[in-house]
């Protein structure tokens, strides 16, 4: 969060805002807007606020679709024996759950928040390339309709896991795999265009007087995430193009018969894969670094360390990829190399948690819903970080690899990590978007049911994994029965409690307690200087930003 801002006079007097009625689904008020209305407005919008809303609604709907797939998986795993689905469909469900959640829910969720908040936080009127912004959003519904349609194709949808290892994903894959590749290309292009847009906005359109070092940490983490996206999405595009050529044009990149090598696939995929998981967590660091200081009413502890550490994490994230492949048959030297680099990267990542706790120390803390989610992020993400530290020990990883212990690890880092951070951001910025405070009671209910649901779902997975239950199996031996039953109940609880989240959003868009421009007492970033709800066009005349000394 940027150094303390002197109180600034809101730029647009409320009178100027025109009628205040909330727009239809989009909670941005009409103001003096005169463009097309109704559906065409959303199709042709180049406004970063409307596109941000589109991204967030898309992300929420993908979150529910991916969630339903997860509930099918957990329902089948409720008891030993095959009760609901056949193994091939189960594999399709696990694969689609992974793909939809990673590429459809978490990434667009963060891009939506970036679209909404980066122009507001750097004092820019809009994103650098508004039309490109619209195009990169509308690529996503196309990509995911295509991906979801593969479930209905003969031979079924992708059933080789979201990591689509060859040769299961090339030689032995269902015929719909080519559509899977096309949809991943389109989603990849959308992320790349989004990243270009964000880099251009952050580097070139900051308010005069705001230098790189005055930017809030959310903007910093997103700049670094955008660099990661630019470096890594082309590698994903490369690997799926190689798959396409293997399947359709008779090459053998990954087919041992023709001189190829399946392990090469894993190397290239995870060279993309690990920076990708950092892409999914760095923006969450930015969000939590904005929320905790606000509700602790104290400046973020060690802002400089956070900026420097985040950039070093970005570089180190390219050196650790083979810790996903410890059991594939790497030579001893490679195992040692990747064990050491993985241990090294755990330090700057883990240490960031201490900065947040130091911010809390001797603060003056209040517990509104955004703060509750941010605190739950800190606690539960740290538990995920600890299991990550255990997985870094290569000899022990031979017992952990591809078991439910790994599933527990990455779900602790992703669900209470990225997803809780997105929800915290929504609770935190809803007053700015809609002009109303989210309903506190509903928010509390949603928070506590989600926290209990997340822990009930994923904590038992540590034990079923340690006891020897492999990943991605539709049925299991009797000794894992109780853990899986608990996980399935937890999953149901967590899934249904997200309906409270939707209810809260709808109520907040419609009405609720009016929110002033500076909705939270401790908030200090630039976005709190514009009125709530933020008018369609803000900062048309760039604000004069004057950083404070000390």
């Amino acid at each position: 969060m940027a150094p303390k801002l002197p109180p600034q006079q809101p730029l647009q007097t409320p009178a100027e805002q025109g009628n205040d009625g909330a727009a239809t689904a989009g909670h941005v008020n009409e103001g003096y807007h005169h463009g097309p209305s109704g559906l065409m407005r959303w199709l042709l919008t180049t406004n970063h606020k409307e596109i941000g809303t589109l991204y967030l609604i898309f992300s929420l709907s993908m979150f529910f679709i991916g969630g339903i797939f997860a509930l099918v998986v957990r329902a089948e795993l409720f008891q030993p024996g095959l009760q609901l689905v056949q193994p091939e469909f189960f594999n399709q469900m696990t694969t689609m759950h992974g793909l939809i959640m990673v590429f459809g829910a978490v990434m667009p969720g963060f891009v939506g928040l970036a679209n909404w908040m980066i122009p507001l936080q750097v004092g820019a009127p809009d994103m650098a390339l508004p039309r490109l912004n619209n195009f990169s959003f509308w690529l996503l519904p196309v990509a995911f309709t295509l991906l979801l349609s593969t479930l209905l194709m003969p031979g079924g949808g992708p059933n080789f896991g979201w990591t689509f290892y060859a040769p299961l994903s090339t030689t032995y894959a269902p015929p719909s795999t080519t559509f899977f590749i096309l949809s991943l290309h389109i989603a990849g292009i959308s992320s790349i265009l989004g990243a270009i847009n964000i880099i251009a906005t952050i580097l070139n359109m900051r308010a005069p007087g705001m230098r790189m070092m005055d930017m809030p940490l959310f903007v910093w983490t997103w700049l670094i995430t955008a660099f990661l996206l630019i470096a890594v999405m082309p590698v994903l595009a490369g690997v799926i193009t190689m798959m396409l050529m293997d399947i359709n044009f008779g090459t053998s990149f990954f087919n041992a018969a023709g001189g190829g090598d399946p392990v090469m696939f894993q190397h290239i995929f995870w060279f993309f894969g690990h920076p990708e998981v950092y892409i999914m967590i760095l923006p969450a660091f930015g969000i939590v670094s904005a929320i905790i200081p606000t509700f602790a009413r104290k400046r973020l502890f060690g802002y400089a360390s956070m900026v420097y550490a985040t950039s070093s994490i970005a570089i180190l994230s390219f050196l650790v990829w083979a810790h996903h492949m410890f059991a594939v048959g790497l030579p001893l030297v490679a195992e040692l190399f990747f064990m050491y680099t993985t241990m090294l990267i755990a330090v700057p990542t883990g240490v960031k948690v201490f900065n947040w706790i130091a911010t809390l120390f001797q603060g003056s803390i209040s517990f509104e819903t955004p703060m509750l989610f941010a605190l739950a992020f800190v606690v539960l993400f740290t538990i995920g970080g600890f299991s990550g530290l255990m997985l870094a020990i290569a000899p022990a990883d031979f017992q952990y690899h591809d078991t439910y212990f790994v599933v527990a690890h990455f779900h602790y880092v992703l669900v209470p990590g990225a997803v809780f951070a997105i929800m915290a951001a929504v609770y935190y910025w809803l007053p700015k978007w809609t002009g109303h405070y989210p309903n506190e009671r509903l928010g509390r209910w949603h928070f506590w049911t989600s926290v209990i649901g997340v822990n009930l779902t994923f904590f038992p997975m540590h034990f079923s994994g340690l006891a020897g239950m492999p990943r991605r199996i539709p049925d299991y031996a009797l000794q894992f029965a109780d853990f899986n039953m608990a996980s399935s109940i937890g999953a149901l609880l967590f899934g249904t409690s997200q309906l409270l989240f939707v209810l809260m959003i709808i109520k907040c868009v419609r009405g609720g307690e009016k929110a002033p421009a500076k909705a939270w007492e401790g908030a200090e970033d630039l976005e709190w200087t514009v009125p709530s709800p933020a008018p369609l066009h803000t900062f048309d005349t760039p604000p004069q930003f004057h950083h404070r000394e000390g």
Binding site: M212, A304, S312, V333
Partner: protein, 57 residues
């Protein structure tokens, strides 16, 4: 140049003083930081590789 190197090392370690950050951002050119950062990453890679080979004996 030495200052850029020290800052990149601090970044790898993850700790930096605020006023040092202000100085870095005031004078330092971003490309210098990126190049030195990548070089340091290379040095780190070679260093750990040698460590791993010796450890493997």
């Amino acid at each position: 140049m030495w200052q850029v190197l020290k800052s990149v090392l601090a970044a790898f370690f993850g700790v930096q003083k605020d006023q040092q950050r202000k100085k870095d951002f005031e004078e330092g050119r971003p490309t210098a930081f990126i190049i030195v950062g990548l070089l340091m990453a290379l040095v780190l890679v070679v260093g750990i590789f040698l460590l791993a080979t010796t450890a493997a004996e």
